[in-house]
Symmetry: C2
Amino acid sequence: MQDTSPKNETPSDIRLAIRSGEVTSVTSGLAEGYVQANVVILPKALSFDFLLFCQRNPKPCPILEVIESGQFDPHLTCSDADIRYDVPLYNIYRDGTLSETCHSIEHVWNDDLVSFLIGCSFSFENALKQANIPLRHQEMNCNVPMYKTSIPTVTAGIFSGPLVVSMRPVKRSHISKAVQVTSRFPDTHGAPIHIGSPNTIGITDLGTPDYGDPVRIFDDEEPVFWACGVTPQAAALVSHPNLMITHAPGHMLITDKTDNDFSIF
Amino acid sequence: MQDTSPKNETPSDIRLAIRSGEVTSVTSGLAEGYVQANVVILPKALSFDFLLFCQRNPKPCPILEVIESGQFDPHLTCSDADIRYDVPLYNIYRDGTLSETCHSIEHVWNDDLVSFLIGCSFSFENALKQANIPLRHQEMNCNVPMYKTSIPTVTAGIFSGPLVVSMRPVKRSHISKAVQVTSRFPDTHGAPIHIGSPNTIGITDLGTPDYGDPVRIFDDEEPVFWACGVTPQAAALVSHPNLMITHAPGHMLITDKTDNDFSIF
């Protein structure tokens, strides 16, 4: 009998399995070592403002690739992908409201849409694990906790909003190492933006995250905060675009690029 | 008698002196330690493609700030600047041809223009000097040599063209240090893109640069090549925009940001 587990298949194999409807799950753990991307798709009229928003806020919004209008092939990061089919689950927002969740966006696709692939934290999480810095949310088998902060993003055109961060508890003796390791990956959120004292950045209760799940923090640990890829989606949504398509949380585009392709040293 | 040398004045003082017509010279050596910017101004219809070109080619085209259409104040990098007056000398291109050189662009300014400030090599040159790596072109009191390479940039919309590099000879024993030092400044071209063997990147004669002046290379040195800010200007020009305004070579915008504001570690 054929083993249908896509865990050790190539990114291309997995994208094909997603395209055919064979794989519809979250992509965490698939094609380990390969970069996965957040997806934001917007009408061309909003594309300059959104690209500028990402340029002005590179820590939460590191652009991996932009697929220009009229194209659906992310050829800079993937060999044979199609952004219309290769994400396991899409969210379609109309006028700022979630109106549909689906496995393909063929029915809403048009030549006016521009697609943005944005770095996600899976890359630096792999690097942290390789450096023997454990990830509490993985130990607890839950989602990473994410919080809206009092830190504003830099506005660009119609796009603005608060910086959203993810939090990972890190032993005080490991914090320097965690900063060093994640500094290598500026295209997947890079170094922490804040260490300790959640109040300082407007987080009043770590136990009630705005997204994801709460995690335990031990006495010898500090909460360490990284800029989060939820930021650009939230900022785009605030502008009530007539049409915006994103990946559904956890259901990312798997690219052909390895984590190390995007490390700076 | 008043000392009118602007060498030790603040960036704001110097911009004011430029705006009033008191300073019309090249800006090299002015406000040392502060970041100077290449300037490219284009009609809004070209702005998404050009921003995307810069995003796809971050080493030659590191964006420091974009001033949106209808605005002339680079408020993210300067306290009180006006892009219409604060560059000592502008080049105005019409349909891809240089048609005018002037000290102000008030007469051609309109609310459709988008201004791009792009990092320049002065920042990493300061860092090299601080690391005791001498700069031959400064020793010879001439311009840095620049070459078109056989390396293509990544196309975006109508923008494409060859990567242009600047060359500095570095002692073999200093090359590691030169890589380390300039790696700290990704927003001002970052680490070298090539070391040694000019032929490999399509440069047949170091003695005849495409821009700037040739410099002497000693036997214990290798030519070291960095991505150059001439690249985006050349790429923009190839598209024959009906209007494009740039700084004249060497006549940069002086920002309030220090070199260290843009270093990554």
